[in-house]
């Protein structure tokens, strides 16, 4: 059902557009050779260009351009054959040049889209543009009562700004869009998607209107650094706007900040002068021209995207839609799953990954990358299960041991003598002994109380310390009991 805010005067629809700043994965900055790694000592990753020393000039990083083109292609968007770097001029201490090199009139990527499913089926969300720009440095306001301290490590790092159409209609859709965008960028390796470290930042433009009516005045909520905060902020802001309008007021077009502690938005203290960024083409940088051949080469290098993976897992692999989505969201999970499922039955592979392994990792507070049980090791366990060498119950114990010790499944099974007994002769001997011991019950079974089969299975398994192959036990029991 469509998301609506029930006001005193009726229902309201929320209209949301997102602007996402994604830090591009690269070794060096967009226009300089300084490194981009997170968490370095202050001003330790600053070149003369980044510090805007007199006479220093920008030279664009090919990989950053490539990453933006990859992202554009992944969003099914047109890659501009000619795009232009412009200067956005404003003064701020963490903007050393006094301008940000960005793309304005002619971005590298034009219209694209991505599909989301926030519980109402698949919806296509428009992407208006994607452009390349420099990040600013960091101002620390809490180190000194009257001064800001400036760290330029981040100044000049490459960002992609990805602007959606105002096509989103609920906090959940906004969350789904951001999650899907993040997933795509992570799959293609263009952005690490780390919202805590600021690798992915989101601004939300929010307005409300009568369902299907004219667009309302929008506010922009800045710097939402988690999907949860994004959703909370939108819900709160939309509700606030409804209250303002229903109270007879008008929504002011303004920039707001989300106060996560209070769960509400408040206006940013805006400067009195309206922004006049005086964009113009950067005379240090000729227009960026990309050839069809270059774009084709970039396209050919794109990996399978999460949507295609989901479809393949659900289709070819017969995995449920929800599980398929979980497997495909993070590239590490997908890679693990594909390694695990290669040459094996996909369904137990998915179940073990999403079930036992994920559970154990969660409990241990570990990520998949740090898992003590890798795909090959888990595959070894699955193979023993598939071969009937161990039972499902034993497999759980073996897995626990593997997770704890990092040892291989076969090694554990051999060392502990956990190999399942499938040998018909051996099992027949045990079955005979069980039937002899419980001759009375065997007679009852033969008289028609076939429910007792389970009892005999249990007894047989007990005598074999769980190592007998349950199917072989079943067959042996049936042969004796049913066959006369």
């Amino acid at each position: 059902m469509a998301y609506r805010i029930e006001g005193e005067t009726g229902a309201w629809e929320v209209v949301i557009g997102l602007e996402v700043h994604a830090q591009i994965v690269s070794e060096a900055k967009l226009f300089s050779g300084a490194p981009t790694a997170f968490g370095a000592a202050p001003n330790a990753q600053v070149s003369l260009v980044d510090a805007a020393m007199p006479g220093m000039l920008p030279v664009v990083n090919e990989r950053c351009v490539r990453q933006a083109a990859r992202a554009g292609l992944a969003l099914d968007a047109e890659i501009a054959r000619v795009s232009v770097f412009e200067r956005k001029n404003y003064f701020y201490p963490d903007l050393p040049q006094g301008y940000q090199i960005s793309q304005y009139k002619r971005p590298i990527v034009g219209e694209g889209h991505l599909d989301i499913d926030a519980g109402e089926g698949r919806r296509r969300i428009g992407v208006e543009r994607l452009h390349l720009e420099q990040d600013a440095g960091k101002s620390l306001h809490d180190r000194h009562p009257a001064k800001s301290y400036i760290d330029l490590n981040r100044a000049g790092v490459a960002l992609m700004e990805i602007v959606s159409r105002p096509d989103l209609r609920s906090p959940e859709e906004a969350g789904a869009y951001l999650r899907e965008l993040r997933s795509i960028l992570r799959h293609i390796g263009a952005c690490d998607g780390n919202m805590q470290e600021g690798s992915l930042r989101c601004d939300a433009n929010v307005s409300v209107r009568r369902p299907g009516g004219d667009l309302g005045v929008r506010t922009e909520i800045k710097n939402l650094n988690s999907i949860r905060f994004l959703q909370q902020a939108i819900a709160w802001e939309a509700r606030r706007q409804v209250e303002v309008i229903e109270g007879g007021g008008t929504v002011a077009q303004e920039t707001r900040l989300f106060d996560a502690a209070r769960g509400e938005t408040r206006p940013m203290r805006s400067k009195e002068d309206a922004h006049d960024y005086r964009y113009f083409p950067d005379p240090d940088l000729a227009p960026l021209e990309l050839s069809d051949a270059w774009i084709a080469e970039v396209a050919a290098g794109l990996p399978e995207l999460p949507a295609a993976k989901r479809a393949r897992y659900a289709g070819e692999h017969g995995i449920g839609a929800e599980e398929a989505a979980r497997l495909a969201e993070e590239p590490e999970t997908a890679a693990f799953y594909e390694a695990l499922a290669a040459g094996r039955d996909p369904r137990p592979a998915a179940n073990w990954l999403l079930g036992d392994l994920s559970g154990a990792l969660n409990k241990a507070g570990l990520g998949l990358a740090d898992s003590p049980v890798g795909a090959a090791a888990l595959g070894g366990l699955l193979d023993l299960l598939a071969d009937g060498a161990i039972s499902g119950r034993i497999a759980k114990d073996v897995f626990a041991e593997m997770f704890e010790t990092g040892r291989g499944a076969a090694e554990i099974v051999e060392a502990k003598g956990l190999r399942q007994v499938s040998d018909a002769g051996a099992i027949a001997g045990v079955v005979d002994a069980v039937l002899a011991e419980h001759a009375d019950k065997a007679a009852e079974y033969r008289a028609g109380k076939t429910k007792l089969l389970g009892f005999f299975v249990g007894q047989t398994m007990k005598r074999t310390a769980g190592q007998a192959n349950p199917r072989a036990v079943n067959e042996a029991l049936r042969a004796r009991l049913d066959g006369g």
């Binding site: 070794e27 060096a28 090919e62 001064k147 400036i150």
Partner: protein
């Protein structure tokens, strides 16, 4: 187009250059003279002409994604008028 005092004040603020109050009026005069002279550009029929931003005569060269700079805070901080440890310091601006 004619600049008045208020416009000069606004432009000076945009450019972050202090202009004393008694200089605004004369400066408006100077700028108006220059801009008035520039307005002869309107005599030129430029329809069909693309704005020419660069005469470099070649496209945009790109650099390889390789780290070769940074790593020396002193190099960039040495000339700072107000240095606080390995930070630049500036009067506080709160967003």
């Amino acid at each position: 187009m004619s600049l008045d005092k208020a416009t000069v004040r606004r432009i000076a603020h945009l450019a972050r250059i202090r202009v004393e109050e008694d200089r605004l009026e004369p400066l408006a005069g100077e700028l108006n003279a220059i801009l008035g002279w520039i307005e002869q550009l309107n005599e030129v029929d430029t329809s069909g002409l693309e704005p020419l931003a660069s005469v470099a005569g070649h496209g945009l060269p790109m650099r390889e994604d390789k780290v070769g700079d940074g790593g020396d805070p002193d190099l960039v901080l040495a000339g700072a008028p107000d240095r606080a440890g390995d930070f630049y310091a500036a009067p506080k601006a709160v967003e």
